[in-house]
Symmetry: C2
């Protein structure tokens, strides 16, 4: 974006008011899916501006000049639109921005028909997720966790600095922000016991992540996506809370990885912030030569970049007390979205529009920058390590070593650079007790 463009996209030029620190600015233009009880029978694709949802299903009906099939924007999910080329996503973005900065535009004239107050709308899953993958790409998180079991020098497993390590997750359990989460039941191996028991998870945790949606054409099975092609296949990014049942996970995960400790719920924020929006907030990467280990050529490109997205996670108790648990940033990711995608498809694995790639828990190096209770409660303020025994003290005098029933975990994210600001909205979920059923 040229400077002149970013000036014309100042909030003061918008046809609707954009409050200070509102996530939905002219440089954002995220994509999502919503319903409005009185106005539609089925979900519509939308963008957000100020305190309004802009119904893109109705919006595109007013324009005949789009270069692509606008039926893709009249679907109940974004999958078909995601399958178009990046140039089409950019075209829609430009037209929306132009319409939102022109008081004589079609959108301005049709405002009451096309724009709805956000608080009247219900946000839904933005896409049908075909497959969901979760990576483990934050170097500080991997180090913080590794140090609990090994020395600092050996904290990272031998493969970690050579590839974005990841695993296949459960697509059916990815839900939209606001969905209540039942504490899972499962097999637990109590400390010192010789046999497992059946019971409620006792170590429920959150994980602060972001996740990228695959866009563009699917690759044929067997045909990998190169690091040069990858940028055109990242549609955009959401916040993600990868809820984790640490005690279930600990007993089950050797040798095949996380399973029931993860597949009970993963929450994402509803608005997808595009890579074109994030373009303004590129930042330096952590040099990819740690311990003298440099990625293989198939993962290298001059276009690699990190992004400066500020992330926060807070806990609100049933009593209403709200506490910030951690602040972190996507620049703590060692591996980029494009490297994750390139590595994932390097086997020939078929990728489809709507597939979701989670970053893995994003933590900083220090206390206050952790993206999980596992880290928060295993290290003291001064960095002393213990096995999950430092309770986090809340301002109402209560404390936590794990998430309790009635707790709400909320993640937020924003980018700021001078006058330029955009946000991701919220990714939130309330934890409820396990769902008991008559037949145990």
């Amino acid at each position: 974006m040229a400077d002149s463009e970013s000036i014309s996209l100042r909030s003061s030029n918008c046809i609707v008011e954009i409050p200070e620190r509102c996530p939905w600015t002219l440089i954002n233009i995220p994509f999502g899916v919503f319903t409005h009880e009185r106005n539609m029978d089925e979900p519509h694709i939308a963008t957000a501006i100020g305190s309004f949802v802009v119904d893109l299903n109705r919006f595109v009906g007013h324009f005949s000049s789009f270069s692509f099939d606008t039926q893709t924007l009249k679907q109940p999910t974004l999958n078909d639109f995601m399958q178009l080329d990046r140039t089409c996503w950019q075209e829609v973005r430009r037209v929306i921005q132009q319409q939102l900065t022109d008081s004589s535009s079609v959108l301005a004239a049709q405002k009451s028909d096309i724009m709805f107050p956000m608080d009247e709308c219900t946000m839904l899953m933005p896409a049908r997720i075909g497959d969901y993958t979760d990576f483990y790409s934050s170097i500080w998180h991997a180090t913080n966790v590794g140090k609990l079991f090994r020395s600092e020098e050996e904290a990272l497993k031998p493969n970690w600095l050579h590839m974005p390590v990841g695993y296949h997750g459960r697509a059916s359990s990815v839900v939209v922000s606001g969905t209540n989460i039942n504490r899972p039941m499962g097999q637990l191996m109590p400390k010192g016991a010789t046999a497992p028991i059946w019971g409620s998870c006792n170590l429920l945790d959150f994980e602060v992540e972001v996740a990228a949606f695959y866009g563009g054409k699917p690759n044929d099975m067997g045909r990998r996506i190169t690091i040069e092609e990858a940028p055109d296949h990242v549609f955009g990014v959401v916040l993600m809370n990868d809820w984790s049942a640490r005690d279930i996970q600990k007993w089950e995960y050797v040798p095949l990885g996380p399973f029931n400790g993860k597949n009970f719920a993963t929450t994402i924020s509803p608005w997808i912030v595009t890579m074109d929006a994030l373009e303004l907030f590129k930042c330096d990467m952590i040099p990819q030569n740690q311990q003298g280990k440099v990625p293989l050529p198939y993962l290298q490109s001059d276009a690699l970049t990190s992004y400066d997205v500020n992330l926060g996670v807070s806990l609100t108790t049933a009593k209403g007390t709200s506490e910030q648990l951690g602040k972190t940033n996507t620049c703590n990711l060692y591996w980029t979205f494009t490297q994750q995608l390139t590595h994932h498809s390097s086997s020939g694995c078929p990728m489809k529009p709507g597939d979701l790639l989670g970053s893995g828990t994003i933590s900083g190096r220090n206390h206050g920058e952790y993206g999980s209770m596992l880290e928060l409660c295993s290290y003291s303020d001064s960095g002393e390590k213990k096995a999950w025994s430092f309770p986090y003290t809340l301002s109402d005098g209560d404390s936590r070593t794990s998430i309790q029933d009635g707790d709400t975990i909320t993640m937020t994210g924003f980018c700021q650079k001078g006058d330029l600001f955009l946000g991701f909205g919220e990714c939130t979920g309330l934890v409820l007790p396990p769902r008991l059923i008559a037949k145990q």
Copy 2:
């Protein structure tokens, strides 16, 4: 099935000829999806009898008396039909069987319109797979693999006898029998090297498995499926080859499990054999008290059963030589389909019609009963163990320690009990070299 029913379902009572050892008998009535070039624009749901495909899309049009919405059988995949109750699946099965044994039936009269010679038809994926999970439930396979790394006494990991250990696989890479498989590329850590290289998989393997399709209503997230409910949620079973890149897998899988070593391809047979068909071939389970370890009550039920399905795997080389590599049986599974499903959903994980649950490699205890090259080439005929160094000698004098380009791996399965016989057809795939792309 009462004895009188099984007598009336003898092949001699069928309106079409059923050759000796033909998989598609009156007691089978599998479900699949096919196309016929000259006769239809889109895929139709079907069953198989003798050497014919029976078009169920057209078949149901002749009956108004079904108790359920027959539109579910007029779809291009089985997902909607799978979502009905088990009683509906049974109803269709009964009507088909009745029509196939009555020479004055509607089906007999409309044969030329409804039935197609199988060799004119192309079989497709029977369902859209939402999520695909792979278990590790054969006790001999887990023991054979464990013994390569540990002592016989410690071959099974501590959790193995307490739960069906499993992991989430990649749904997008599950393909129907007959699909060619490109050898994957990936990161490999050569023996003695200090850094990984990029290259073609050198240790391509097959895994003999069966896989169950989930049927019936989805469970709400958080609401687990009990062991008593589970039998009504297993629609049926297919053969599965879980292609594995052992060298890629070895370097990547710690700590999060298999990833690119698996997600390049998984092949399934096209015809789903229902649990009602398999009912006749129940057999005793391996007693679930090995090493004195008994499953927790949530995994116990009087209705647990094993099935006597004979499995075979063969290799056909580019020269045309064909060799049987192994013979095994599903009775080598320690954990049942219903236990796998119950454990999977015990966290509250949402299960949907069309979800696929693989059994894990099925091996017997001895040479000749192995379900993978990993086992075949790590143990001598006399049981001596080595790290993957015993080549398998082919009758043309050639030998294999892993699958080569040009090799075709074919799995078959059948059940036999006295006069009663049914088959699963074939699960086959030809291995091709990696797909090279201009831009490396």
